[in-house]
Amino acid sequence: MSYIRLVNVTKRFGDVTAVNNLNLEIDKGECFSMLGPSGCGKTTTLRMVAGFEDLTDGEVWVGDRLLSSPKKHHYTPPENRNFGMVFQAFAVWPHMSVYENVAFPLRLRGLPSAEIDQRTKDALAATNLLKAASESPDSLSGGGKQRVALARALAINPDVMLLDEPLSSLDPHLREEMRFEIKDLQRKYGFSIIYVTHDQSEAMALSHRILVMKLGVVQQIDKPLDIYAHPANRFVFSFIGVSSFTDVLWQDGKAFISGSDRPLPAALTVPEEMKAEARFSLASRPTEIEFTNAEDPAGVHGQVIRRAFLGEIVDYLVRIGDQQVRVQIGRRDPGPGPDEACCLKFLRPFWYKAED
């Protein structure tokens, strides 16, 4: 049986449904990410697991412990859930030293002082903070403060670690470094992680599985690679990775890119369910389009609008009909110059119904 279970969890704030009938199972030791734009309900879900928000309906279980269930009038307050939590804004207490911050949850549990000292030092060592133990957290950088928050959450040896956009307040290179530190700590301690973020690369790098959410409704739960390679719908496709959408018209049994009088080549097979629509979208990742020669039967003709060198890759904007397509190729690959006519080959086309 799964370790963390959310059963039919719903949360309404007045008339607004923040989370709608969410069912979720997370294994012991799994790193599970919740991804979505702001306001999608991911943070609310995390806070319901933590116990900071009560449920409108449904149940939250961890192991064989029922934590929240409005139907059964059961609610375990956050302080009794034995979770660790790290917040975006660090939330380290400025009036205590680094050591005192980490020892605080242990003291609350009334442990013998020798054990408190040992576990505090272990947690500080695991997060490379031993040297800063007696300092005020205000003297640390953002990354340092977030390490204190991590150490504080680790010290109690939590069943579940809840991370609420823990890296968003850090600068980019530090973010990457901390990502792997969190992963290492999880391997070492074996707790489950629920990780909330709006940064997809963070979710990809850390997680065993990812949940993509939109307006309180689950869009897809899958392994990172599957989310990327097999997005469940238009929203997931556009939210994960860079994407470009092109309007396509279906006329007389042929597909035309909007504004273009040349039909799409037969090699780009339009799925049957799209043919009923007058208008739909051809979607692709800029890196999954390449330039081909003008005679290629699978090629789509267009014209370069602009070209930009972004270091290792070259970013093109190509006009086809009245649509624009982004193409990214390697720096060393041959490509057309600005304003030149060109021919594109879609390596992995996705087809979606037009947005309402």
Partner: protein
């Protein structure tokens, strides 16, 4: 290649002129009177004499006043801090019903003048004539009053009622701005709400509590009205009331002026220490506790205590605000003081009399309104200019101005009044004594701090680049000031105007030392009529003052809301 010639400002320019003007205003209105006090305190017959300073200080009467100030201020501070912190916590961190409404009710005492409150409490709780004490004595057939307001406890209790909002407002602000995740992370660590309050919340808002407490300490040390109304009868003097008594009774004899200046010096030094301490606390203990994305902070569920606590709050408001106000209006309507409140004894005759016939009160209302308007307008413009130099201009000699700009914050009202007497009574060629102008001069000095604070805050919001952008578009410095800076600081100027006008309307501490028979302010008229036994007239005027203040405050709220929109 084109060669541009850069005109360099050399020597005496507009900037220097503004700087000098700013320095001159602060020196003439604030620094010089204070210097005169220090000079008179330490120099006897033109030579330095600290021994005589010590002699005056240890004179039993003076020393008693110092002790009294300290006792009353300490009790007031402790009381206000407890009351203010408790109510602030109640309206920000619990599920008390009608929290926002209660919060605005707790701010009401801010606008009520405490000496009018003291007057009301005198009528309620004076040992033998107070309405409550009389009722108590006749009810239980005793000659012992329930509570004697003419004591340290009585005076402090009345001051607490009107001063606790200083702590309340600071603590409310800190609790509301505090990042809720600081408390949530303690909760997830396993701490219950009581532990969180004790270990996290209170330590984090302690700097705000302390800074509010110090403000109250400063205010109470230098507070005239309550002690004058409730203490003098029993011989309880504090520093400001003794200064007043000395200047008043001896009509400016050398010995009493010396005592006054020595006491004033003690006040100035105390104020400086308190303000220094407050800055220290705020800068050192000012934790970065303001968070990013915010959820509602946790609320303590009061459960069964919800309604009883609301009732307690309402009872507190009823007892400390409604009851005294009602008493003021009722007594103001009595035909003769001492009669019971029955319909035959009550009428609007007194109100009509003081508004249309009685010269003393008519003059007082006219004086207070015109003095308030004049002081507010002058101080508002002077404040913009001085703040502009301090905040924005890069000009040599600004340091002097920054130092002088701190001064108005630490000079209490009675010190200013005494300094103004020393400076403007003809000793230096200009004699304003016994005219309305001397009160105006003192008001400008007294309220300069308010204007400087509001205007610097507004100016700090205006980033330098806005002005630079305007200059680079081809506007001159004056055009940029007129079209860019002034429109942006206008809200600050308007709030400065009101911040000065309303307190000036109900002012007592300064004008009581400077008034002449025809230059009474509303505060002076209420106080002197009461001293002369004209209790009902004095109370009726107090009622009128309360109405004026409430109308003024409503207008402010209306205007400042409009400006900020």
């Amino acid at each position: 290649m084109s060669s541009a010639t850069i005109k360099k400002d050399s020597g005496f320019g507009v900037a220097q002129l503004i700087l000098l003007l700013s320095i001159a205003i602060l020196v003439i209105f604030v620094a010089w009177p204070v210097l005169l006090i220090l000079f008179n305190a330490f120099f006897v017959d033109g030579s330095f004499n600290s021994l005589d300073f010590y002699r005056v200080l240890t004179d039993p009467e003076t020393f008693q006043a110092l002790t009294n100030s300290l006792i009353i201020a300490s009790m007031t501070t402790v009381g206000s801090t407890i009351v203010g912190t408790f109510f602030a916590w109640l309206v920000t961190r619990t599920d008390l019903p009608y929290k926002n409404f209660m919060k605005s009710l707790f701010l009401v005492p801010f606008m009520l003048p405490s000496f009018i409150g003291a007057l009301a409490w005198k009528m309620l709780l004076s040992p033998h004539a107070g309405y409550i004490n009389k009722a108590f004595m006749s009810l239980f057939g005793t000659t012992e009053p329930l509570f004697n307001i003419y004591t340290y406890y009585g005076i402090s209790a009345v001051e607490v009622m009107y001063l606790f909002p200083f702590v309340f407002i600071q603590v409310c602000g800190a609790l509301e701005r505090m990042d809720p995740t600081l408390e949530e992370s303690a909760r997830i660590s396993g701490a219950g709400l009581l532990t969180i309050t004790r270990k996290i919340t209170i330590p984090l808002v302690l700097p705000s509590i302390m800074s509010g407490a110090l403000l109250i300490m400063l205010y109470s040390m230098a507070h005239f009205g309550t002690v004058a109304v409730l203490g003098i009868e029993q011989g309880i003097y504090n520093i400001p009331t003794l200064i007043y008594e000395k200047i008043h009774e001896s009509a400016g004899s050398f010995e009493s002026i010396r005592t006054g200046t020595v006491l004033a010096t003690v006040l100035v030094v105390t104020a400086a220490i308190i303000i220094w301490g407050q800055q220290k606390i705020l800068s050192r203990g000012h934790y970065q506790i303001i968070g990013g994305k915010s959820f509602r902070p946790m609320e303590l569920k009061l459960r069964g205590l919800r309604w009883p606590l609301l009732l307690f709050c309402l009872a507190y408001i009823g007892f400390t605000i409604v009851l005294p106000t009602v008493v003021i209006f009722l007594v103001g309507g009595l035909n003769t003081y001492g009669l019971p409140f029955t319909w035959e004894n009550l009428s609007l005759a007194n109100y009509k009399y003081i508004l249309t016939e009685y010269d003393v009160t008519k003059d007082a209302i006219f004086n207070s309104v015109s003095l308030g308007l004049a002081a507010a307008v002058i101080t508002m413009f002077a404040g913009v200019m001085i703040s502009y130099v301090i905040v924005k201009m890069k000009v040599r000699g600004k340091g002097i101005l920054e130092f002088l700009g701190m001064l108005p914050f630490s000079v209490p009202g009675s010190v200013i009044a005494l300094g103004v007497i020393l400076a403007w009574s003809g000793k230096f060629g200009i004699n304003l004594y016994n005219t309305v102008w001397i009160i105006l001069v003192a008001y400008i000095a007294r309220y300069m701090a308010f204007s400087l604070r509001a205007n610097s805050a507004a100016l700090e919001q205006v980033h330098d680049s806005l002005m630079e952008a305007s200059r680079s578009c081809g506007a001159t410095m004056w055009q940029s000031l007129k079209d860019i800076v002034i429109p942006l600081v206008k809200p600050g100027m308007i709030s400065a105007f009101f911040l000065i006008f309303l307190p000036a309307l109900r002012e007592l501490t300064v004008s009581i030392m400077l008034y002449a028979p025809t230059t009474r302010t509303i505060g002076v008229a209420i106080y002197t009529l009461n001293e002369d036994g004209e209790t009902v007239m004095s109370t009726a005027l107090a009622g009128v003052a309360l109405i004026l203040i409430v109308i003024g405050q409503t207008l402010i709220n209306h205007f400042t809301k409009k400006v900020s929109e």
